[in-house]
Symmetry: C2
Subunit: 146 residues, 2 copies
């Protein structure tokens, strides 16, 4: 049996995050030692590693909740799991497209900055005047900053 600290280390997840996952029901309530400390089995480690891996791939906790409940029923069709993964792929692709457009615009902005006074700064100028943007004058959806 592993303490929460060891579990966190092995799965690459911080301790408070594990407790958080338990709190929101993504992990079952852990067994407790005589002194009320959480104890985890190898199975818990697998489950947590699954979650970690899915998070790394950008799945939301909701999607992971679904994937986990699917994986608990190994005899059913995998169409649902496939659909979740495909949706995630589509999401990633759309974010890639938006980020690529952003990158182009930021590059133009930075390249044009001659390094003089603020009054002549292209960065400030472009931000202040949308019409100085790339030809199509439309913007991608806002991309959340991490």
């Amino acid at each position: 049996m592993l303490t929460i600290g060891k579990l966190g280390q092995q799965a690459g997840v911080k301790v408070p995050t594990i407790r958080y996952y338990e709190q929101i029901g993504l992990l079952p309530e852990a067994e407790r030692s005589a002194g009320n400390q959480r104890l985890y089995s190898r199975k818990s480690l697998e489950r947590l590693a699954f979650i970690r891996h899915a998070r790394d791939l950008g799945f939301t906790l909701e999607a992971i909740r679904d994937l986990l409940s699917l994986s608990d029923r190994p005899d059913q069709s995998c169409a649902a799991a496939d659909a979740i993964a495909k949706a995630q792929l589509a999401e990633v692709e759309s974010r890639l497209a938006r980020l690529t457009a952003l990158k182009a615009e930021l590059e133009r902005m930075v390249l044009q900055c001659a390094g003089g006074r603020i009054a002549d700064c292209r960065v400030i100028e472009v931000l202040g005047d949308h019409s100085l943007c790339a030809t199509d004058h439309s913007h991608p959806e806002p991309e959340l900053s991490s």
Copy 2:
């Protein structure tokens, strides 16, 4: 003078968002009408459009706060503005790299799914076993889902 609704329309920003920006000090406290409603000038519209545009490009509100205070002092060097924009560009580039890796892995996962039972599902399997990932066995930093 514009009411908050008109201002929002013209800048493409929702009304509560404008009030929120005022609350956190990104916009100055607005003038008020006799009936206590906010009134905005053309200058406010420019400032809000600046914010909106920078948000579209993924700048954080903190970065925007800095850019705005720079733009208020037009005679100083634009090095700071340039640095902020370059940092944002670097951030976008790193996110692009991570997303590209993510996309590759998701694609592999989805392509390998034969559509049978959960027990045979590549999606579930790959999520559960990190070692089935791409050759380098390392993952990009977690990419926050939008």
